[in-house]
């Protein structure tokens, strides 16, 4: 197999908030003449989830709100599992990053009539903190970042998919990244002194999921194969109201905004009865995890589901005109797939939304492998067991920028490019080429199978038996995948080959999620064990760490270090009100 | 098409608009009862006003149409670069010469 070799100084994988900021900051911090390359699975700025951010960006900008309060909300939202130093840096740097976005990148966020920034409160926040641009905040952020990156002398490798992190022979450092140039189907090995991985996780191994189609956990699978520790891998956040439009459409799973419930939207079961109050006193306005579990439990009861097996969201009692005026984007989106949100019923289902788990990093985004940095949804630690709405994009932009700064500095102490372990390179190529030798078989049914298995056995509510069954199902699918073949006569833009590779990544990470889920014998944040419904003692909180050595995957527990605040305590000054939000949801 | 060409085209168009309206009005008036060469010439020959009127029109329309055809030639016939500009200049020259000849014809004594 011929492979093209390519050298650069700083390589960035992904063009979400993390990748884009890394590119811009690396350019500012690296010595003149440093070559920066950005490689992405899709088109620059047109893939990934940062673009899909609706609600907004959490940042404490005064008016009573403080970094301390943002931090406390983040720790409490994460149920004391977050790495506190990371959470602190997230909250502290978000202030700088939002100013950078407005003043240097050119975003314009919504204003109050007096011209000051408009901020609102998502569930789980004790202050009006979320900066936004209507409900299309991500488009504004990514488009503006994209313009800046496109206009700079950064080498662009679009539709280049990373498939393997290639270490040096002694395994101590990263030599470069193996990619497939998707347009030609050729392999390209890119050496770099520092690499930022910002491929954005993305729990798309669930039947219902929100992230964009390009996200298939490639980054975490690559990290796993190169032996890096991954933390909090059991933590998958479900959004309660994904659109449910049947199995034949990609629209299924996409988010119907949180604000619908906030505004008074009601959830009805198949018999058109309200049910959320059976599960929580706050009804539909409870937090994401609670509502998701309520819906899931209701769906499990026989005879109470909608035609497609979910529940309904109903807005019409608020007045169709009113709904149309308040949620024009959502109404139009539903109409496009044949639903009348304003006056009728729309089927919804909980949908996998965000992945809290990720590579173990330090607050400077460094990993255990010299030369590899990880930021954004690929990095674990900042959110613990649950991510607050609005903290996702803050996290990716803050840490992407940090990674850019740090790489630009670190590179000064790095001499020559490192040579790869050719045997690992060879092995990764062989792995990727495997389906081309097999007998041709459709790949999509296997993906469907994995998504069913994860949804049923490792989903919103988990049990030991379920997860054990899940492991067997994943293993079976993985075995089938290894025998499934793809026609290899033309590898240019061969989506089916990439479907195979996508599914390979998803299977690997699904196994880790399940094993981490088994290792956590309590219920925290997004992780709910029906056999261990108790949250366990906060003081002795632990997080899971998964690591692959050879063919064995080990999951261990590590104690959370309360470096800034201990459970039951707060860093807010005495006498501060618990919440500044008047009608806290 | 650049800003300069654009401005030239729009300015000439604005100049022509009243002239064309006027011309049509005169024609509607003139053809009542039929036209003869003598009638036309009787009105126009020796008139400095008519000379200016038609002279302005010819200059404006030559510029305007040359730019217009240049655009059409580039978009629909794929002409570009020097060929395109040469064509536009030729059209301009042709229209100016023919036009001024005509103006001279109808207004000179």
């Amino acid at each position: 197999m011929q492979i093209e070799r390519h050298d650069t100084d700083i390589l960035i994988l992904g063009t979400g908030g993390a990748g884009m900021f890394a590119a811009l900051h690396a350019q500012q911090s690296a010595p003149a003449g440093t070559k920066i390359t950005i490689a992405v699975k899709g088109l620059i700025g047109k893939c990934g989830c940062t673009r899909m951010v609706q609600g907004g960006y959490n940042v404490a900008l005064g008016g009573g709100d403080t970094v301390e309060r943002h931090f406390m909300d983040t720790i409490q939202g994460g149920k004391w599992l977050p790495n506190q130093d990371m959470a602190w840096k997230l909250c502290e740097q978000a202030v700088v990053r939002i100013r950078e976005l407005e003043n240097e990148i050119g975003c314009f966020f919504d204003r109050n009539p007096d011209g000051s920034l408009h901020q609102k409160a998502f569930a789980g926040q004790t202050a009006d903190r979320t900066v936004h641009k209507g409900d299309l905040t991500g488009i504004e952020i990514i488009n503006r970042l994209m313009e800046q990156v496109l206009s700079r002398p950064v080498e662009k490798l679009q539709e280049h998919r990373a498939i393997g992190l290639i270490p040096t022979k002694d395994g101590s450092a990263l030599a470069g990244v193996l990619m497939i140039d998707m347009r030609s189907g050729k392999f390209r090995f890119v050496r770099a002194k520092t690499v930022l991985m910002g491929t954005g996780g993305g729990p798309t191994m669930y039947k219902y999921h929100t992230p964009s189609g390009d996200k298939t956990m490639d980054g975490l699978a690559m990290a796993l194969r190169v032996g890096l520790p991954l933390r909090d891998m059991e933590m998958v956040q479900f959004h309660p109201t994904g659109l449910l439009a049947g199995d034949h459409t990609k629209m299924t799973g996409t988010v119907l905004e949180e604000g619908l419930r906030g505004a008074g939207g009601q959830l009805l079961n198949g018999a058109e009865n309200r049910f959320m109050f059976d599960y929580d006193a706050k009804g539909e306005r409870a937090t994401r995890d609670v509502v998701s579990r309520g819906i899931f439990a209701e769906m499990r009861k026989s005879n109470t589901t909608t035609p497609n097996g979910g529940v309904y969201i109903s807005m019409s009692h608020l007045g169709p005109e009113n709904v149309r005026a308040k949620f024009p984007g959502m109404v139009k989106r539903c109409a496009d797939s044949g639903f009348d949100l304003a006056a009728g019923l729309v089927e919804v289902v909980p949908t996998a939304h965000y992945f809290m788990g990720g590579v173990v990093v330090d607050p400077d985004t460094r990993t255990a492998l010299e030369g590899l940095y990880v930021a954004g949804e690929d990095a674990g630690g900042a959110h613990g067991s649950n991510r607050l709405g609005g903290n996702g994009v803050a996290n990716s932009t803050v840490y992407g920028g940090v990674a850019g700064d740090v790489m630009g500095m670190d590179i000064r102490n790095m001499g020559a490019l490192r040579d790869p372990d050719e045997s690992v390179l060879e092995a990764e190529i062989t792995r990727a080429l495997r389906p081309l030798q097999n007998k041709i078989a459709p790949i999509q049914p296997l993906r469907d199978k994995l998504q069913e298995a994860m949804w049923e056995d490792v989903g919103v509510m988990r049990t030991e038996t379920g997860m054990e069954r899940g492991l067997t199902r994943i293993a079976d699918i993985q075995a089938e995948l290894l025998e499934a073949g793809v026609a290899g006569d033309n590898l240019a833009f061969n989506l089916t080959w990439h479907d195979w590779l996508n599914l390979a990544s998803l299977c690997e990470v699904s196994e880790v999620i399940t094993k981490a889920g088994l290792a956590r014998e309590n219920s925290r944040g997004a992780h709910y064990r029906e056999d261990f419904p108790d949250s366990g003692s906060m003081e002795s909180s632990y997080f899971t760490v998964a690591r692959q050595t050879g063919d064995t995957l080990d999951v261990t527990r590590e104690d959370v270090q309360f470096t800034i605040v201990k459970p039951g305590e707060t860093i807010l000054p005495e006498g501060e009100p618990v919440s500044l939000v008047e009608a806290a949801e | 098409m650049t800003l300069k060409l654009y401005m030239a085209q729009r300015i000439t168009a604005l100049i022509m608009a009243p002239l064309v309206l006027m011309h049509i009005a005169v024609m509607i008036y003139a053809i009542q009862g039929g036209l003869s060469a003598a009638e036309i010439l009787g009105r126009t020959q020796g008139s400095i006003l008519w000379f200016l009127f038609y002279g302005t029109f010819v200059v404006a329309v030559s510029i305007h149409a040359a730019i217009g055809l240049r655009t059409v030639l580039s978009e629909w016939a794929g002409l570009c670069g020097t060929g395109l500009n040469a064509a536009a200049w030729t059209i301009l020259a042709l229209l100016l010469i023919l036009g001024m000849q005509a103006v001279y014809g109808v207004t000179a004594t």
């Binding site: - | 729009r10 168009a13 604005l14 022509m16 608009a17 064309v20 309206l21 049509i24 024609m27 509607i28 053809i31 009542q32 039929g34 036209l35 003869s36 060469a37 003598a38 036309i40 010439l41 010819v58 329309v61 149409a65 217009g68 055809l69 059409v72 059209i91 042709l94 229209l95 023919l98 036009g99 000849q101 005509a102 001279y104 014809g105 109808v106 000179a108």
Partner: protein, 113 residues
């Protein structure tokens, strides 16, 4: 040619404007040429004008005036759209430009007959 993405008023207005512009530009040299006979050969011009009395030529003249007014009003519409920041009613403007041209040329035709 007018299919798919082109089936809407503004595009058709553009096409009309362009075709009328090109047609005018083709006609104009002929017009100038005829008029330039005025000086050196008035009798030829008379002959021409006589020929111009035939109905078919009358109709052609109607067409010409029509083209001229279509193009002019279309052009004025376009410049109004460009220079007066209107936000709506452009379709109406396009349609009324064509209507007005027909009217103007219609008068011309009636008078000529």
């Amino acid at each position: 040619m007018i299919h798919g993405h082109r089936t809407h008023t503004l595009w058709i207005a553009f096409l009309l404007h362009r075709i009328s512009g090109v047609a005018l530009a083709l006609f104009l040299p002929a017009h100038f040429w005829v008029l330039s006979y005025a000086l050196n050969a008035p009798q030829k011009l008379d002959g021409f004008l006589h020929w111009a009395e035939t109905p078919i030529v009358k109709f052609a003249e109607f067409g010409l005036v029509f083209l001229l007014s279509v193009h002019m009003l279309g052009g004025l519409r376009l410049m109004a759209l460009e220079f007066l920041p209107w936000t709506s009613g452009q379709k109406t403007a396009a349609a009324s430009a064509v209507a007005a041209s027909t009217f103007l040329a219609g008068i011309f035709l009636l008078r000529a007959i």
